[in-house]
C-alpha cells in the first residue's frame, strides 16, 4: 500500500499549480465581469487539458486519455485555489455522457458545447407522480405528429432539481403503449421554452421554495423534433441506464464528508460539550464510519487507476454516505440543543442570509433526509446491494426489471 500519487503526478501537480497561479486571478471582479472572466478561464483550462477531459475537442472538450490520478490532482489543486471547475449539474453529468455514448452527430453538435459552457441547463424528466422507484412505469405519452417530424408530449414530470433554471430536459416518455413495460419508452430531449410546458416550484420541507427548489412540469401538447430522440424508439429505458465510468472514481465525496465531520467536532467545542465522555464516544464512533468511507474511496480510486474491478463495495458508497449523514445529523441536533428551535436567518430563501449561529446545522439535519431519497432511495440501494452485490434472488414484483 502506498498513498502517495507518485513522481509523475507530483510533476503534473506543479504544472497545474503554475497554471492556476498565473490564470486564476479574479481580483475584485463582480457580476458580469466575473462571469466573463470565469468563462475565459475555463476556456484556457480546457486548452491545457484540465477540464472536460472525456469530451472530444470538436465539441469543446479537452479530449484527454483516461487518467484518474491526473483527474484527482486537478480536482485537488482547483479546490485548493478555489478555482471554478466544470459547470456541473445534470447536463454535464448526464446529458453529455449519454450523448457521447448514444447520441447522433447532430445532437452532439447541437448540445454538448452549449452545455459545457453553461448556456444550456438540463432538468431531469424521469420521475412522475405515479412513477418513483418503479421508474419504468412512466405514463407521460409521446406521439408522432401527423407529418412524422415531431413528438407531441402530454403528461407530468416531478422532482426536477434546478427546474426553474432549466432550459432543456432529458426525459423518458412512453411511445409504445402496447409494448412491454421496459420496451415502450423513448429517451427524448426537449426545449422547455415553449407554450406547451408549464413548470411550478415545489416548496421543500426545509422551507426552500422559488428558484432554489425542485419542480414539477406539465406537458400539454409540448413538442420535440424527432431528431432529438436519443437512441432507438422504444429503447429509452436502456439509454437511461447508460453510465459512463470515465474518471468517475474520485475522493471528492470523502473529502466533503471529512470536512463535515471536522465541523461537527468544532461544534462540540463551540457548544462546550467536547469534554463530555458521551459526546466524545459518539464522535469517535461516527469517525470510525467516516474513516471507513474515506479509506474505501481510496480503495475505489486505486482500483480505478489500476483498471481493477473493486467489486460490490462500489454499490455501497451512496448508502454509506447517507447513513453517516444521519449519524452526524443526530449528534449535531443534540449538540445545538435549544438553538434548534429557531430557524437560521434567511433559510428557505426568505430574504438575505443573516449571521448564522449553531442553528445553521438545521440545514444539514434536514438535508440529510433528502439524501435518503434523492438519486435512488435508501431501500432501493439496499435492494441493489442485496441483488447485484450479494447475488440474492430478485423480488418477484420486480422480476422484469433490468
Amino acid at each position: 500500500m502506498d498513498l502517495s500519487y507518485g513522481e509523475a503526478a507530483e510533476a503534473f501537480r506543479k504544472d497545474v499549480q503554475g497554471f492556476l497561479g498565473s490564470h486564476w486571478q479574479p481580483g475584485d471582479r463582480r457580476g458580469g465581469a466575473l462571469k466573463d472572466f470565469i468563462r475565459d478561464f475555463r476556456r484556457q483550462a480546457i486548452d491545457r487539458g484540465y477540464l472536460y477531459r472525456s469530451v472530444p475537442r470538436r465539441y469543446g472538450g479537452s479530449e484527454q486519455p483516461v487518467d484518474v490520478i491526473r483527474a484527482q490532482v486537478i480536482r485537488e489543486e482547483f479546490g485548493r485555489a478555489r478555482a471554478p471547475m466544470e459547470v456541473g449539474g445534470n447536463g454535464v453529468n448526464m446529458t453529455v455522457p449519454t450523448l457521447l455514448e448514444r447520441g447522433t452527430e447532430e445532437q452532439r453538435e447541437l448540445f454538448i458545447r452549449k452545455t459545457i459552457e453553461g448556456d444550456y441547463i438540463w432538468g431531469q424528466g424521469y420521475s412522475e407522480p405515479g412513477s418513483g422507484s418503479d421508474l419504468a412505469s412512466v405514463r407521460t405519452r409521446a406521439e408522432l405528429s401527423a407529418d412524422g417530424a415531431k413528438w407531441i408530449v402530454n403528461g407530468q414530470k416531478i422532482w426536477t432539481s434546478q427546474g426553474m433554471q432549466s432550459t432543456h430536459m432529458f426525459m423518458l416518455v412512453r411511445t409504445e403503449p402496447d409494448a412491454a413495460k421496459h420496451d415502450g419508452i423513448t429517451y427524448l430531449l426537449m426545449d422547455l421554452d415553449q407554450p406547451g410546458v408549464t413548470r411550478r416550484p415545489i416548496r421543500q420541507m426545509t422551507g426552500e421554495g422559488g428558484a432554489h427548489t425542485f419542480c414539477e412540469f406539465f406537458f400539454d401538447n409540448a413538442e420535440a423534433p424527432v431528431g432529438w430522440q436519443v437512441g432507438e424508439r422504444g429503447q429509452g429505458w436502456y439509454v437511461s441506464r447508460t453510465t459512463l465510468k470515465h474518471e468517475r472514481a474520485s475522493i471528492g465525496s470523502a473529502d466533503g464528508l471529512g470536512s463535515q465531520f471536522a465541523k461537527l467536532v468544532d461544534l462540540a467545542r463551540e457548544t462546550g460539550r467536547i469534554d463530555d465522555p458521551l459526546v466524545r464516544d459518539r464522535l469517535a464512533e461516527i469517525e470510525g464510519r467516516v474513516l471507513s468511507h474515506r479509506y474505501t474511496s481510496f480503495r475505489l480510486f486505486s482500483c480505478a487507476a489500476a483498471g481493477d474491478d473493486a467489486g460490490p463495495v462500489q454499490l455501497m458508497m451512496k448508502l454509506l454516505l447517507t447513513e453517516i449523514g444521519h449519524d452526524i445529523a443526530l449528534l449535531a441536533q443534540d449538540l445545538i440543543g435549544e438553538h434548534a428551535l429557531v430557524e437560521p436567518e434567511g433559510s428557505g430563501g426568505r430574504g438575505p442570509r443573516g449571521p448564522r449561529g449553531p442553528n445553521k446545522w438545521l440545514d444539514q439535519i434536514m438535508g440529510s433526509l433528502g439524501n435518503s431519497i434523492a438519486g435512488g432511495a435508501s431501500n432501493i440501494q439496499r435492494n441493489i446491494i442485496g441483488e447485484r452485490g450479494l447475488g440474492l434472488p430478485r423480488d418477484l414484483a420486480m422480476g422484469g426489471e433490468k
Partner: protein, 335 residues
C-alpha cells in the same frame, strides 16, 4: 498510489485459506470444543509450515520480509475460519523479538518464526488464550515494559470453561517465572506492539464478520419458505445488505491501520484504536445478525455459528473494549 490488494497479497490469503480448509472446519471446531485441549497441533503445524510465524520478519531474520499488512491479511483469514491457536500472539512475539537487542532473547527467534515455540499474549488481565500449550507468555514486566515469561515454574495455570471454544483461555498467574527481557518502560516498541495487536484483532474480526455474512447470504439463497428462497424477501434482503454494508467498507479501515503501522505514520496508534473499536462493533453486530438471519438453525450448537459469536465476545474484550479505544482515539485526536 496503491490502496488495494496486489495479486501477491491475494495469493497469500488464498494459500492460508486453502490450508485451513484442508485441516480446519466446523467438525474440527466441535472436536476441539468437546475435548480438553486448548490447542490443535495439526492445524498449527500446517499454518506454521506456510511461514506465518515469521511472515513479518526481515529476510535476514529468517522471515518473509512482509509487513503488518500481510500479517493482518493472514489474521483475517484465520478469523474467517475461527482457526485455533495463538496466531496473533505468535506474530506479535516475532515482531517483538526481532526488534529486541538482548542476545539471549534473540536466541528465541528461530523457534518463534518456525512455530515450534508457541507464544501467547498475556497482556492486561489473567485470562490467557491457549495458555496450557504455550511455551512463552508475552506480558507486562510489572514496571511498564514487556518481557517474555517462560512456561513452567512460576507460572500457575488454572483451566476454566472458556466461552471462545476456538481459542480457549485459562486463568494464569505469574510468580517470579524465568523471563527473557524485551523492552523497558518508555521504549516506543511497548506501545507499537500493543497497536500491532489491536490491528490484528481488528483483522480477525473482519474475517469473522465476513464469514458470518457469507454464510447468511448462502443460507438465504437455499432455504425456502412460502415456496421461494427466503433471500427474495425484502425484509431479510435488507438485513443482509446492512451486514455487507457494515463489513465491506470496514475492510479499508483495517488496511489503513496496518499500512499506517508499517509506514510508522504519526496517526498509526490512533488508527489502530479506531480499527479495533470499529471492527469489534461490526463483529458483534454481524454475528448477532447472522444468527437472527438463520432462524432456529442458527441458534443450534451443531450448525456452528456460535463459534464465531463466541470469538467476537473474546475479541471485543481483548486489550480494551470499543468504548475504551474510542476514548483513547478521542484523546489522541486532541479533542
Amino acid at each position: 498510489m496503491r490502496f488495494h490488494l496486489s495479486s501477491e497479497q491475494v495469493a497469500i490469503q488464498d494459500a492460508v485459506r486453502g490450508t485451513l480448509s484442508d485441516c480446519w472446519g466446523v467438525e474440527r471446531l466441535h472436536a476441539l470444543a468437546d475435548g480438553d485441549a486448548d490447542f490443535d497441533a495439526a492445524s498449527w503445524q500446517a499454518m506454521m509450515t506456510l511461514g506465518l510465524g515469521g511472515l513479518a520478519l526481515a529476510e535476514s531474520d529468517g522471515g518473509a520480509g512482509l509487513g503488518l499488512l500481510e500479517a493482518a491479511l493472514v489474521c483475517e483469514v484465520a478469523g474467517g475460519a475461527a482457526a485455533p491457536g495463538p496466531l496473533i500472539g505468535q506474530i506479535i512475539a516475532a515482531l517483538a523479538v526481532a526488534r529486541c537487542t538482548d542476545p539471549r532473547t534473540r536466541g528465541l527467534l528461530a523457534g518463534i518464526a518456525s512455530g515450534e515455540t508457541v507464544v501467547t499474549l498475556a497482556l492486561d488481565g489473567a485470562l490467557v488464550q491457549c495458555a496450557r500449550s504455550a511455551h512463552l507468555f508475552l506480558c507486562d514486566d510489572g514496571a511498564g515494559g514487556l518481557h517474555l515469561a517462560q512456561a513452567g515454574e512460576g507460572v500457575a495455570i488454572e483451566p476454566v470453561t472458556a466461552t471462545d471454544r476456538s481459542r480457549p483461555v485459562s486463568r494464569v498467574t505469574f510468580a517470579a517465572p524465568a523471563v527473557y527481557p524485551l523492552f523497558a518502560a518508555g521504549h516506543p516498541m511497548v506501545q507499537r506492539l500493543r497497536d500491532a495487536a489491536l490491528v490484528l484483532i481488528a483483522a480477525d474480526c473482519l474475517g469473522g464478520a465476513q464469514h458470518c455474512t457469507d454464510l447468511s447470504v448462502d443460507y438465504a439463497k437455499t432455504r425456502e419458505q412460502f415456496g421461494q428462497p427466503i433471500g427474495r424477501f425484502q425484509g431479510l434482503k435488507h438485513q443482509l445488505a446492512q451486514m455487507a454494508l457494515e463489513v465491506e467498507p470496514a475492510r479499508a479501515l483495517v488496511w489503513y491501520a496496518a499500512y499506517a503501522w508499517d509506514a510508522e505514520l504519526p496517526d498509526s496508534s490512533r488508527a489502530a484504536a479506531m480499527a479495533k473499536a470499529h471492527l469489534c462493533e461490526v463483529y458483534t453486530r454481524t454475528t448477532r445478525a447472522a444468527i437472527a438471519a438463520h432462524g432456529g438453525i442458527g441458534y443450534t450448537w451443531e450448525y456452528g455459528l456460535n463459534y464465531w459469536f463466541r470469538r467476537s465476545v473474546l475479541n471485543r474484550a481483548w486489550l480494551g473494549s470499543p468504548a475504551q479505544h474510542r476514548a483513547r482515539a478521542a484523546r489522541l485526536a486532541g479533542w
